[in-house]
């Protein structure tokens, strides 16, 4: 479903992605963790070409993402992306936020789009907030609307870039609950997060990155309880003690 073949990326001289080879099969829930600056956000941002790469190839659904001839609109419509800072459109209500892409990218009617939008809002438990503006919602609610907005395009893949890092602790649970239910539905997910509870509960595989390289991958229980590398063991001990 998603395949990285020898992917390299530099920010000027900084080698942010160093020879990444990775295969993510359909339906897998992959958790990516690692220290800040390790390239984990960059890795998932390359999947829908929010970032260019300098070497190698990424293939999503048989489409080579970074080839100039690739139909990016079609590709991006199949991939939902959830940002750390939500990035809801502040001048639109929750409902309008969710309807924008289905109406303009998928070209479905407004009536149909509204029906889908209301379904997705219900799915994330925010039916009553349809007409609220983002500023009237809490951080957790905004992130759930952002997830509903992603789901409204019925993507095959959902990418999450530290979805709970900007939230107050008491709001993390409500967002994680939505993500767990998505994972159980069999949607392909790549999640950059340090939420180990989430990783243990639903992840099929954990990937640990440092300095632009994939250091270690494994089943969540193996990774957290018996890390193979010293670097990973050190990282886990640090996030556990806090």
């Amino acid at each position: 479903m998603i395949e990285f073949k020898g992917v390299n990326k530099w920010f000027d001289k900084l080698h942010v992605l160093n020879q990444i080879n990775l295969m993510i099969p359909k339906g897998e829930v992959l958790v990516i963790c690692g220290p800040s600056g390790s390239g984990k956000s960059t890795l998932i941002r390359c999947i829908n070409k929010l970032e260019p790469i300098q070497k190698g190839e990424i293939i999503v659904n048989e489409m080579s993402v970074h080839k100039p001839t690739t139909n990016l609109t079609k590709l991006r419509a199949e991939i939902g992306f959830i940002f750390q800072q939500f990035h809801l459109y502040p001048h639109m209500t929750a409902l309008q936020n969710i309807m924008l892409a289905p109406v303009n990218v998928k070209k479905i009617t407004k009536v149909e789009a509204e029906k889908i939008a209301r379904q997705k809002l219900e799915r994330v438990g925010l039916s009553e907030k349809a007409d609220s503006y983002p500023a009237q919602l809490s951080g957790g609610q905004q992130q759930r609307v952002a997830i509903a907005r992603g789901l409204a395009m019925s993507p095959e893949i959902m990418l999450f870039d530290e979805p709970t890092s900007a939230l107050d602790p008491e709001m993390i649970g409500e967002v994680l609950d939505v993500m767990v239910s998505l994972a159980l539905e069999g949607i392909t997910m790549c999640v950059v997060t340090h939420e180990m509870g989430f990783a243990k509960k639903v992840a099929d595989r954990v990937l640990f990155m440092d300095e632009g390289k994939i250091i270690e991958t494994g089943k969540p229980t193996d990774f957290f309880d018996n890390p193979k590398t010293e670097r990973a063991a050190d990282f886990i001990s640090k996030i556990l003690t806090h």
Partner: protein, 222 residues
Amino acid sequence: MLDNFNFRIIFEYLPLFLNGLKFTFLISLVALFLALITGIIACACRISSIKVLKYPVIAYIEIIRSTPLLVQIYFLYFGLPTLGIRVPEIQTGIIALMLNSGAYIAEIIRAGINSVDQGQIEAGLSSGLNYVQRMRFIILPQALGVTVPPLLGQAIVLVKDTSLLSLISVVELTRSGQTMTSERFMPSEAFLTVAFFYMCIYFCLKALADWSQRKLIFREAY
């Protein structure tokens, strides 16, 4: 000081001033409208990645911003006829104001567009919206709120800049003051009246700016 003022003469010359006011108003309105169109087109070229559009517009904006308006007016007034283009003074003045304000308006709109958070663009990109759709639905509506107040500020500048057109003998408000001065030699009365009318226009536009500031700025996102 006011004891020495001859207010009767002002009333006597009121039709002259009102005629000047009318032309100042009309010239400002036409020039502002044309400057807005110029500014929008120039801004679109300025932020475009097409080099043949971008670089000439950068040159235009920099030339306008680095030279005084009066020099630009004189350049058009004396320069165009030598090129064989004969344009009446009033049109010359409007063209000068249009080109001048257009450059500033292009930069105001560009600042508004740049003020929209990069994350908003990424959100649009990642849901598959194309450039035009991102501009229309996401960026421009948010840029509008921050753009309107400085645009009205530029409108106020433009109205006051029309006074420079008196130097190429366009009949407008300042010119009315000069006419009265030369006929009756009462410059204090004349230019006090002129100043009063400019202030009237200023306060109208300022009220509009304040109102728009309250109405148009969108709620913050976070």
